[in-house]
């Protein structure tokens, strides 16, 4: 038994449309370039537009096909246990980390970000002892790496207000 049409891969199609627009924008950008500098970007942008249009067409055609109805008792996909707020908090911590490096210095900002990300990645309650062990391990990792980078490999680490 088949039900009526169902849109096929909507996010993928929207992204394909974004790639068509991006390709067109990049081709416009090549106006000010020399023929040598523009030939490859134009070629690849055109190829990207063609592939993206083909994908849109494919998804539209697939979306017009009837889809078989789910049989009773068919296993439904399990509800996702993924946490979007944790993902966003992780990204926020990473962004703030990069912003803070020139202000607070590499080591201090890294310590703050490290423990912020540790909190975001912790799903289960842990004992005080476990927590203290993780903090000690984290501090040791950060210190050793910082010293290796700054003192052994002589990479000039940003110092900011602290170090």
């Amino acid at each position: 038994m088949a039900s009526l049409r169902k849109p096929h891969d909507v996010p993928g199609t929207i992204l394909a449309a974004v790639f068509v627009a991006l390709g067109a924008f990049l081709i416009l950008q090549t106006d000010s370039m020399s023929p040598m500098g523009s030939v490859f970007p134009i070629t690849i942008s055109v190829a990207m537009i063609v592939f993206a249009l083909a994908l849109i067409l494919r998804n539209v055609v697939l979306g017009m096909r009837p889809v078989p109805a789910a049989t009773p008792g068919e296993a439904q996909p399990e509800a996702s246990h993924e946490s979007m707020p944790r993902r966003l908090l992780f990204l926020l911590a990473m962004i703030v980390w990069i912003v803070l490096i020139p202000i607070l210095g590499f080591f201090v900002s890294s310590v703050l970000a490290y423990f912020a990300i540790m909190l975001v990645a912790t799903h289960d309650r842990m004992s005080l002892r476990e927590g203290a062990a993780l903090v000690a391990i984290g501090l040791a990792i950060l210190t050793v790496f910082y010293l290796v980078m700054a003192r052994v490999l002589l990479i000039p680490m940003p110092t900011g207000m602290f170090f």
Partner: protein, 513 residues
């Protein structure tokens, strides 16, 4: 007989210790994403200036070969290639580790790396001058087609949706064009920002596209990072050895590809491993298993990238043209040591060169026990570390690694930005590997394409430039075979199935009373 004297020189206790220390340092630096083999060699070069030339070269060769191998650890254990040459190791290494076969994957990578390294070093010893001529026969069209050959791997990486793979590759190629053009020096797609003038660094892109999406998904669930197989004790060396023997053709072919690609200036381990992976998948009886944790994929990439070490030294020592970036650093060290590079090097300063080559072989052999031990503990640690410590530690390494490339925070911002874009694209079916492939091969492809076009135009024969040279045509044939092989194989399979079905039908009809 003379060569045995050089072997004895390479086997002095001091040289053995130096090779050991070099291999360990190389493995540790190579395993950290962002810290490349070039950086490992460049940072440690000044320490060799006080040593005698042969010992200095032995330690540099050991660091280089160890760093190329070390890149496989993070590729297998955290899905982030430690060096660009380990990109293809992530395709099968991480799926193997995820299903609990991480120890086996590390053992396979070690055996393959040692074999590849030995093949490259032996070819360097016996065939250096004639093989260096191969490099001279490669012009811009051959480089262009070689990059296209690497890009045909997209068909292998995009099972289920080739169009999305192709779009991703175009995006990667366009990302490789950001900054100043390789030919013509036009400033392109920087959006007026000075930050992007230097372009998007491959290593920063690599860390962002592979590592950040993994971290974003790691914090979202309480599931463990890797599973531990029921009987995962030990190195699983016997099993790894049996698999390697079964894949011996793949192993030797990939080692030879690695050596040949290593000889070509500018191509390097990333191109070698991608081409070898393509070929391994094409010639496999089960190409559909590649990308899902197939041991053949690890063997192909790891043997090829380590073979580029010996291969890269061939044009470096014979012609003075470095095959790979670390070769360029070592070439500088050779000049500082007062060694005159050129075709006569092997006769006039044979003692230094042959002692160095034996040192490279010894360093590669040392990599077997050292690599297995470090790999075993790396795997055990990654499995044992709770997510609360693993995620911030890897995040810290992504920041340190992308900062260390140019000591610049802009690379860190680019890394994170690409990581977020990569995560969004990945969730909608656009895999990161085609994008990385485009980013890595973009400059080689563009340089070859534009130079070939200009030369062809000047000669009034553009088509002949691209399609009229024998080496080019051989590469085009391989690329076409790789690209269309899945279609050809499935067509042949369908035809056979139809034929056998027809035979059965005829037989059953004949058998009716």
């Amino acid at each position: 007989m003379d060569k045995l004297v050089y072997l004895a020189e390479a086997l002095t206790p001091m040289n053995l210790v130096l090779a050991f220390v070099g291999v360990v340092a190389g493995i540790v630096i190579g395993a950290l994403p962002g810290l490349s083999a070039t950086m490992a060699v460049a940072v440690l070069v000044p320490f060799t200036f006080t040593m005698d030339p042969a010992s200095g070269l032995i330690v540099l060769g050991a660091i280089y070969t160890g760093a190329i191998y070390g890149g496989s650890y993070s590729a297998i254990l955290v899905n982030t290639p430690g060096t660009p040459s380990a990109i293809a190791t992530t395709f099968d290494g991480f799926p193997m580790a995820k299903r609990g076969d991480g120890a086996l994957a590390v053992s396979l990578a070690t055996l393959a790396s040692v074999t590849g390294g030995l093949v490259g070093a032996l070819l360097l010893m016996f065939l250096a001058p004639p093989l260096a001529q191969v490099a001279l026969a490669f012009g811009p069209p051959e480089y262009f087609w070689l990059a296209v050959f690497g890009l045909t791997l997209i068909s292998a990486l995009s099972v289920g949706n080739l169009l999305k793979g192709l779009i991703g590759a175009c995006l990667g190629l366009l990302l490789s064009m950001v900054g100043i053009a390789v030919i013509g020096a036009d400033v392109r797609f920087t959006m007026g920002s000075q930050v992007l003038l230097g372009g998007i660094n491959i290593v920063a892109g690599l860390i962002g596209l592979y590592c950040i999406p993994v971290l974003i998904d790691l914090v979202a669930t309480r599931d463990p990072h890797l599973r531990v197989a029921a009987e995962s004790g030990g190195f699983r060396l016997k099993e790894a050895f049996a698999i390697t023997m079964k894949e011996k053709v793949n192993l030797i072919r990939s080692s030879l590809i690695g050596t040949i690609v290593g000889i070509l200036p500018g191509a390097g381990g990333s191109v070698a491993s991608l081409v070898s992976y393509s070929e391994a998948r094409r010639s496999s009886k089960h190409p559909e298993r590649y990308g899902t944790g197939e041991p053949g994929g690890i063997i192909a990439t790891e043997s090829a990238n380590n073979a580029t070490v010996g291969g890269g030294f061939i044009p470096t020592l014979v012609l003075g043209i470095p095959g790979t970036p670390p070769d360029a650093v070592i070439l500088g060290a050779l000049l500082v040591q007062g060694i005159r590079i050129g075709p006569t090097l092997f006769t006039t300063q044979g003692s230094i060169v042959y002692t160095f080559i034996f040192g490279l072989i010894i360093g590669t052999l040392i990599m077997l026990p050292v690599g297995l031990l470090i790999g075993r503990y790396a795997y055990k640690s990654i499995v044992a570390i709770p997510k609360s410590a693993l995620v911030p530690t890897i995040a810290f390494m992504t920041v340190v690694g992308s900062f260390a490339i140019h000591n610049n925070l802009n690379d860190v911002a680019v890394m994170l930005g690409l990581g977020i874009v990569g995560w969004l694209l990945n969730r909608n079916g656009y895999a990161p590997s085609p994008i990385v492939l485009g980013l890595v091969l973009g400059q080689i492809a563009e340089q070859g394409f534009v130079q070939s076009y200009l030369i062809g135009n000047a000669q009034g024969n553009v088509l002949g430039m691209f399609f009229g040279r024998p080496i080019s045509m051989a590469i085009v044939a391989f690329a076409a075979l790789t690209l269309f092989y899945p279609l050809i194989a499935s067509a042949i399979g369908a035809r056979r199935a139809r034929k056998s079905h027809a035979d059965i039908t005829v037989e059953s009809r004949d058998g009716q009373p």
